[in-house]
């Protein structure tokens, strides 16, 4: 089994870096030559390059209401990094499912099928009302389900018609050459029963985050069984914060200083690689790593953790 390893490019993280309006003035004795066209996206591009140059397989761009839109950022970076997968997270409230599929197909055609769709958990009721989204709480699951049914439908069939509670299409469906592109791999996330149930029916990959090893094992088994009841197979992913340093002491000191999540993997490079390998053994096939500051840590993880992790996985495969 191939393990895909992504770096999280979080548009809300380190909000001042590269941001023109928040540039610290350099000392007045130094000549300032930065231009108006330099900005935040140059930093995003550097992180993407960092991931590409250190053999990551892709970038994961979480949906952030307070920051840049993940789909636009993914597209803006796609031609700067020729190999990386770009998994952009957005809610099923973005609008027409046909239009979302149309945009996805354009992205796929231009990038050699490198787009992934991560459907984000719906915002709370106040945030939804602020976002012109008035679908009732109990309808959100059905909306997500219809969104994907329509998006996959217009991509896979022509003519395609659909009449649901949230979406309607008549005589739809993409033609040659648009229908030649692959539909993006679909990611969902969550730990709740209804979230696992949705993934059992719809997800290509289900993402877990910020959890303990035993809970992760239990949730994987639950979802695996639920998917089997629907005659499907779902792959599993893990969004994992790491603090990896040359020595365990340094890593723990940094974890204390940065006050990371209790489920962050903290240790020397080999220890973190071992912990990740143990989660692969549970069935995790998509690993999304989180570290901060992003550019520093993408290089560190790519240079030191990834080679050790991949070596472990190769040993395990050979032993099996």
């Amino acid at each position: 089994m191939t393990i895909d390893i992504y770096w999280q490019l979080d548009t809300a993280a380190e909000p001042a870096r590269g941001e023109r309006s928040r540039h610290r003035r350099i000392a007045s004795i130094a000549r300032e030559v930065r231009t108006a066209t330099q900005g935040r996206f140059d930093y995003y591009a550097q992180i993407a390059q960092g991931a590409a140059q250190t053999a990551f397989d892709g970038l994961f761009l979480p949906h952030r209401e307070e920051a840049d839109d993940s789909l636009i950022v993914a597209a803006a970076l796609a031609r700067e990094v020729q190999r990386l997968a770009l998994v952009a997270q957005f809610p099923a409230s973005v609008g027409s499912a046909v239009y979302a599929a149309k945009q996805a197909v354009s992205f796929q055609r231009a990038t050699g099928n490198r787009l992934g769709w991560a459907i984000s958990p719906d915002a709370d009721i106040a945030a939804r009302a602020g976002g012109a989204d008035h679908v009732r709480e109990e309808e959100l699951g059905a909306r997500a389900e219809e969104f994907l049914a329509v998006a996959r439908g217009v991509h896979g069939e022509s003519p395609f018609s659909f009449t649901g509670r949230h979406f309607e299409v008549q005589g739809g469906g993409f033609e040659v050459p648009l229908n030649r592109a692959a539909f993006p791999q679909v990611f969902f996330e969550g730990h709740e029963e209804d979230e696992l149930d949705l993934s059992a029916r719809l997800a290509d990959v289900h993402l877990f985050r910020d959890t303990s090893f035993p809970v992760l094992r239990e949730r994987i088994e639950t979802l695996d069984a639920a998917a089997a009841r629907h005659g499907r197979t779902v792959r599993f992913g893990l969004i994992q914060e790491i603090v990896a340093r040359e020595t365990g002491e340094e890593a723990r000191a940094e974890a204390r200083r940065a006050n990371v999540s209790q489920h962050a993997l903290v240790g020397d490079y080999a220890a973190v690689a071992d912990e990740l390998a143990a989660r692969v053994a549970l069935g995790i096939s998509h690993i999304i790593l989180i570290g901060s500051p992003s550019l520093t840590e993408v290089y560190r993880s790519g240079q030191h953790v990834l080679p050790r992790l991949r070596a472990r996985l190769t040993e395990t495969r050979q032993a099996a």
């Binding site: 909000p15 941001e19 309006s21 108006a36 066209t37 900005g39 935040r40 996206f41 591009a45 209401e65 307070e66 920051a67 840049d68 839109d69 789909l71 636009i72 950022v73 597209a75 803006a76 796609a78 031609r79 700067e80 957005f90 409230s93 973005v94 609008g95 027409s96 499912a97 046909v98 239009y99 149309k102 945009q103 197909v105 354009s106 992205f107 055609r109 231009a110 990038t111 050699g112 106040a126 009302a129 602020g130 976002g131 012109a132 989204d133 008035h134 329509v150 659909f162 979406f167 309607e168 299409v169 008549q170 005589g171 739809g172 993409f174 033609e175 040659v176 050459p177 648009l178 030649r180």
Partner: protein, 384 residues
């Protein structure tokens, strides 16, 4: 007075010449030797280039030759402008991305988020061509089942919300189509400029919507006096409604060193059009008023290219040679510039120009026609 000149990014493939209808740029045709993006490499295999690589070339040609940006059209079998624009954002410098967009297709707050992000990615180079017309079966293809006047009502509300969340924290809105409670873009995004908005549509419902929200009123080319009257009417009507409207023309050019060369290309193209295509001049069913105005120009049967010359340098058969509107300008560089000047004198404040092939013609029109502009317009304006 300053006039904005846009070019166009063809989103349904391009062809090397108007003389032939086969799309040999892009994968709307089978990949074969002589095609590009994708084409074949020296071993006869797909060379790996994609149509976006060709679009990047066109955008760079347009910005290098003096165009301010380009219209990026959207139809069922095209690539999408919301994706093309960010894909090309970082490799272009001044090119403005004019996104053709039907408001019903995105949640208005999401559209505002995406637009503000694109503004940040491009340094404020986003422009919208808001489209509301069309209708009938083509709307249902997109999953959109609104009747014509309802759709203008929705466009108005969409732009109310789009601009409202951008300008105001704690934004509330209660419309027929959209409701917002305590909305507002994140401050980082709201700090960007709201993109310029171009509007199309000739009906009263469209003009009411335009008066409220549009910066530019965009029309296909029509016979000049008719278009001048239309612009005057639009400016007058939208002013009465409390808006201010600049006017713009979208037109294809065949500009050559001599008029004879230009007509020679038109004639060759016309003679390569199969007879059954010529018979289909009526076009597809649509409830768009603009499309009906164009359709009225098309005689049902024509035998010779010059039967479609409707005025000096104006040819009404472009839709036979490529998808899109029928009427375009044909002539020498000087004549093309003079016709554009005529349009400026009739109220045009901006243009979306195009020629086939889009890459090479961007340089030609930019280098040969744009520098000749203004002489006649200034004379005509001075004579008023």
């Amino acid at each position: 007075m300053s006039i904005d000149f846009y070019w166009r990014l063809p989103t349904h493939g391009c062809h090397e010449s108007l003389r032939h209808s086969a799309y040999d740029r892009g994968d709307w045709s089978p990949v074969k030797a002589g095609n590009v993006a994708p084409g074949l490499n020296r071993n006869g295999e797909d060379d790996g280039y994609r149509y976006i690589d060709h679009l990047a070339e066109i955008a760079k040609a347009a910005e290098a030759s003096g165009f301010i940006g380009g219209l990026i059209p959207s139809f069922p079998n095209t690539d999408d402008p919301w994706v093309i624009s960010p894909l090309l954002a970082r490799e272009t410098k001044s090119f403005r991305f004019m996104i053709a967009f039907q408001p019903g297709f995105l949640n208005p707050v999401q559209a505002a988020r995406m637009s503000a992000t694109l503004q940040r990615a491009t340094g404020g180079r986003t422009v919208f061509n808001i489209i509301t017309g069309g209708g009938g079966p083509s709307q249902l293809w997109w999953g959109d089942s609104f009747a014509h006047d309802d759709r203008y009502g929705r466009t108005t509300e969409f732009l109310d919300v789009f601009k409202g969340v951008w300008r105001e924290q704690g934004f509330d809105y209660k419309g027929r189509f959209y409701q917002v409670e305590n909305g507002g873009l994140a401050p980082l995004l709201a700090a960007e400029e709201i993109p310029e908005i171009w509007f199309s549509g000739s009906s009263e419902a469209a003009l009411q919507s335009a008066a409220k929200h549009a910066d530019y009123y965009l029309s296909w080319l029509e016979p000049f006096d008719q278009l001048g009257d239309k612009f005057a009417r639009v400016k007058e009507r939208t002013a009465a409604l409390g808006g201010e409207q600049k006017c713009a023309v979208r037109v294809d050019l065949v500009a050559r060193a001599t008029e004879e060369e230009a007509w020679h290309d038109i004639r060759a193209g016309f003679e390569n059009v199969p007879e059954d295509t010529r018979r289909r001049l009526g076009g597809q069913a649509t409830d768009s008023v603009g499309a009906s105005r164009q359709a009225a120009l098309r005689p049902s049967e024509v035998k010779r290219y010059d039967e479609l010359i409707v005025a000096p340098n104006l040819w009404g058969g472009f839709n036979l040679l490529r998808g899109g509107p029928a009427l375009g300008i044909v002539g020498s560089y000087e004549q093309c510039a003079a016709r554009l000047d005529d349009l400026i004198a009739r109220g045009a404040d901006a243009f979306i120009l195009a020629g086939t092939p889009h890459l090479e013609e961007a340089y030609r029109v930019g280098e040969e026609v744009l520098p000749l502009l203004g002489r006649r317009a200034e004379a005509l304006l001075a004579a008023e």
